[in-house]
């Protein structure tokens, strides 16, 4: 018990590793396995052949049977490791199988046929990456269209969000005017109204505007995020007003003060909001699912879901496309991870 409690408590400065240290690292290593394992398994599986995917129990690595081309045979023959009667093992190619017996030839001596009981042979397999899992869906399905739609939605929506949220935050933090507090309170009050609560009326508004089956219908409704306004306003409050007064003295217009003085100084908060917005938009699912019903407008997430929901799930393609979908986020994360984790920890916001 005391060991356990020591484990739970925080320590600093001590001698060599004790049991609690071992427990700590064991926990962390199991954590690595549990958090990364499933993703790694997905990546490994995505390189398997269709035959490899239905194999049960599955192999860890994408293995495929090794085949050899021999003179006198039209088709390539599968290679087997065979245990011979004298106890030695040899690699033979199988010509055909008859009942419990296999007719095999030695690749070095293709003339002579050896008969072997099938129980005495095991398939020779080697690592082979089935790259066509990735290239085929790119050619045969609308994957590139989905990708393009996702990129358009993410980029355009993030730009719009940044501009209008920062403008609103500028007004709420750098001006004194009647109604300011009221506006801020209303925005704060809706901070916790998620889209899932207003699905029907927002769909109604979208239909009225004519944005059903239109990417604008996905982009615009989520653009005026209360979270973004709040985040940027809190940051802009820390920018000294003297800078603005000085710029005004120099004859700068209010618009110029906004984009040349205040917005560059708010860059850290803008960066955090950019990351959030990209994450929200790239991963968004429910709203695009409702707004977009024509497949040429699907975003990646909706397309991927439609594809995996088909009657005959083609797992070899689904897995490869899932890998392609998580790739961009993973790359961004591996470059910006320190920045992202500290940014999120200090604001406590998430989509």
């Amino acid at each position: 018990m005391s060991r356990l409690t020591a484990f739970l408590s925080r320590r600093r400065g001590r001698a060599g590793p004790d049991l609690t240290d071992w427990l700590t690292y064991a926990y962390l290593l199991v954590g690595v396995l549990v958090m990364f394992g499933p993703v790694l398994w997905l990546v490994l599986s995505s390189f398997k052949t269709q035959a490899g995917l239905v194999e049960f129990p599955p192999t860890l690595l994408p293995l495929s049977p090794v085949e050899v081309e021999l003179e006198g045979y039209d088709e390539p023959l599968p290679l087997f490791e065979v245990r011979l009667e004298d106890g030695s093992t040899k690699r033979l190619a199988q010509v055909r199988r008859v009942g419990l017996e296999a007719q095999m030839v030695d690749p070095d001596d293709p003339g002579e046929i050896v008969r072997v009981p099938i129980a005495d042979r095991t398939e020779v397999r080697a690592l082979r990456l089935q790259v066509s899992n990735f290239t085929e869906p790119l050619r045969r399905f609308d994957f590139l269209t989905y990708l393009k739609n996702s990129v358009v939605v993410t980029v355009v929506a993030t730009l719009i969000t940044l501009v209008i949220n920062s403008m609103a935050a500028f007004a709420l933090s750098k001006y004194r005017f009647r109604g300011r507090n009221a506006v801020f309170l209303v925005i704060l009050g809706t901070l916790m109204i998620p889209l899932s609560v207003v699905l029907v009326p927002v769909y109604l508004v979208i239909t009225q505007i004519g944005w059903v089956n239109n990417l604008w219908g996905v982009i615009i409704p989520g653009a005026a995020t209360p979270t973004g306004v709040f985040l940027l306003r809190q940051y802009m409050l820390t920018i000294p007003d003297e800078l603005i007064d000085a710029a005004r003295m120099d004859g700068a217009s209010e618009w110029r003060i906004y984009w040349q003085v205040v917005l560059p100084l708010a860059a850290p908060a803008v960066a955090v909001l950019t990351i959030f917005s990209v994450m929200w938009r790239w991963n968004d699912f429910l709203w695009p699912l409702i707004v977009l019903t024509r497949s040429e407008l699907f975003t990646l997430q909706v397309g991927l879901n439609a594809f995996q929901g088909e009657l005959n799930v083609q797992w070899h393609y689904v897995l490869a496309m899932t890998v392609l979908t998580l790739l961009p986020i993973t790359l961004v994360f591996s470059f910006l991870q320190r920045f992202i984790t500290t940014g999120i920890a200090s604001t406590g916001v998430k989509g």
């Binding site: 925080r10 925005i187 009326p201 699912f285 929901g309 406590g348």
Partner: protein, 340 residues
């Protein structure tokens, strides 16, 4: 040499970026600078607020009220002017139940099943996640090597899209999947994890914890690191053991952060949809159907689109979230800066 070149590239990228920024902003200025002459400096804040307020009003504020109205109308038409006003009929329909403990006795049995599923989900998902996140944060807060790496490991799934998360686990959990492969290797029988109601719910909860715990771990870790080290020194001078200092220093000082985590994860769990929908489709049967899925299917995914009923259910969901938010505001007062 290499770093010199990359430094130069970076410089070029920055110059191009700032030129694009200046160009775009000057372009927008063509609209906004004349506006200032038109309305005067004093009204400029409203000009700055306008785009955000327009979208905000049209897609957040107005829908909140419209939602309540739609929930009081019937029929299958979309536009309110075509929909007959039916008063509280939709709510009555949702609440027609012989016995609220038994969804089968209710008129809208799917609604009550989804309510019950969501209740079970919230209880175990939030409970389990707060515990695992706390344990992980405590471990990460120890004097360990590679802390940055391990922190990223737990955080990584947070960034994955719900669809990707669901597909990863669907692949693992299917009958021919790797988990059953391991079971068979250990000599056990394979289990149809996603085709058995209880197993499906268990895995939906586990997968959801897997996907989100990194975020709450980060918040708890920030909370732990804001506890001043002097307090621990003082405790150990007073002769407190590690358990005692955990109980009398760590826990009480972490409590506000814990409450924030609890309520944020609660608000999130009540609205769960994406991962579960892709992983199980709400099935087998209705075993993992959540409230948002009920709303989505009632309003959008059936032949007869019952918008009124969907709106009524979402008004009820909104009320639950409102209560949770008010709780958060009460609690959050002590932990400003942590919340947004």
């Amino acid at each position: 040499m290499d770093s010199e070149r990359s430094g130069r590239t970076e410089g070029t990228v920055a110059r191009v970026a700032s030129a694009v920024y200046a160009g775009a902003m000057s372009l927008l200025g063509i609209v906004f600078e004349p506006l200032q002459r038109l309305v005067g400096v004093r009204r400029m804040p409203w000009v700055f607020l306008l785009p955000n307020l327009l979208i905000f009003g049209l897609f957040i504020l107005f829908p909140v009220f419209l939602n309540v109205y739609v929930s009081l109308t019937g029929g299958t038409e979309l536009f309110p002017q075509d929909r007959p006003f039916v008063g509280a009929e939709n709510y009555e329909r949702l609440f027609t139940c012989d016995d609220f403990g038994d969804p089968n006795s209710c008129l809208e049995d799917r609604f009550w099943r989804s309510v019950r599923n969501t209740g079970v989900f919230v209880l175990f998902q939030v409970g389990g996640m707060v515990l695992v996140s706390l344990l992980t944060a405590l471990v990460l807060n120890r004097n360990i090597r590679f802390r940055g790496f391990f922190r990223s490991v737990y955080f990584y799934p947070v960034l994955l899209s719900p669809v990707v998360v669901a597909l990863i686990w669907k692949w693992i959990l299917q009958r021919q999947g790797v988990l059953n492969g391991l079971l068979v290797n250990l000599g056990a029988d394979p289990v149809a994890f996603l085709l058995d109601g209880r197993w499906a719910m268990t895995w939906v909860i586990v997968v959801s914890i897997w996907a989100h715990m990194g975020f709450y771990t980060l918040i708890l870790l920030a909370g732990l690191q804001s506890i001043p080290a002097e307090l621990y020194d003082a405790a150990s001078i007073d002769g407190a053991g590690s358990y005692q200092s955990f109980r009398s220093v760590t826990l009480p000082l972490l409590m506000p952060t814990m409450m924030v985590v609890l309520i944020l994860s609660l608000i999130r769990a009540v609205q769960t949809f994406d991962e579960v929908y892709v992983l199980t489709g709400g099935g087998p049967g209705t075993a993992t159907m959540m409230i948002v899925q009920y709303i989505y299917q009632t309003g959008f995914a059936t032949q007869v689109q019952r918008f009124g009923l969907a709106a009524a259910a979402s008004v009820l969901l909104g009320l639950v979230l409102l209560v949770a938010t008010l709780l958060q505001l009460r609690v959050g007062r002590g932990t400003e800066g942590h919340l947004a």
